[in-house]
Symmetry: C2
Subunit: 131 residues, 2 copies
Amino acid sequence: MLTKGLEDYLELIYQTISKNKVIKAIDIANEFKISRPSVSEALIRLADLDLIIYEGRKGIKITEKGVVEAKKIINRHNILFKFFSEVLKIDYQIADKNACKIEHVIDDEVLDKIHQFSELYIKNRANKELN
Amino acid sequence: MLTKGLEDYLELIYQTISKNKVIKAIDIANEFKISRPSVSEALIRLADLDLIIYEGRKGIKITEKGVVEAKKIINRHNILFKFFSEVLKIDYQIADKNACKIEHVIDDEVLDKIHQFSELYIKNRANKELN
DNA sequence: ATTTATTGTAAGGTAAACCTAACTAATTGT
DNA sequence: ACAATTAGTTAGGTTTACCTTACAATAAAT
């Protein structure tokens, strides 16, 4: 299973590549304020798990499996972020920071309920405002 | 700062003592499925932080400071548990398990909002049912 | 084209939170 | 009372996720 750190790195890799940008090991080091050797190690681990293809300076590519995994993580993040910011009206930065921490520990069953609840709540609120 | 593990152990110590029961190192080991030496070490650490008074076989006592800290943790747990079980209608066991994990990472600001939201939501639902 | 700066790797270290095995002290059963 | 069991400690080991220092390879600047 993927650790919190690896999930974070994969998330950033996917998001960067999605924007047609290139991501390098040093970008991950800077983003998460960890050393270059630690990133090196983490990337090798992600490659061992077939989530990325890592060829050092030649670049970082994400695999099919990596995309699936990254999307799962981002989906968790987005559900939590939406609930925090739109339902609870929490400031974006704090909503994001907490989504980032909770996305690694919450069970799918709970996440699904939050998702359903959020959608319903936001829809109902919108209907109410029409009257 | 208290780590996840130490928070969990302190929580159990407080809850057990609150019920006028005696808690021993081995109870903590059994509850969390960790070894006796690991508990020994953790209790020394909690004592170093002035959260408990630990005298080996003579027993574990909780300090004023420990009570304050434990109550904070339990409060977080209860807020999350109530939200999960009463608002989201999640099964007790899963609600408890997730509260247990999230209580260690969530920010106070988010917790407060969840608390307010839960109370309001439950109250409104009760009023609706009266009509 | 060389020098300089940047990026990545290798080697080895640290701290946290666990572990096992072996020992000691205290409690319990007969 | 004393043997057996239980509880806690000591000593030393493992794993994970970091770190620093030093080096190698590539890219950029002059």
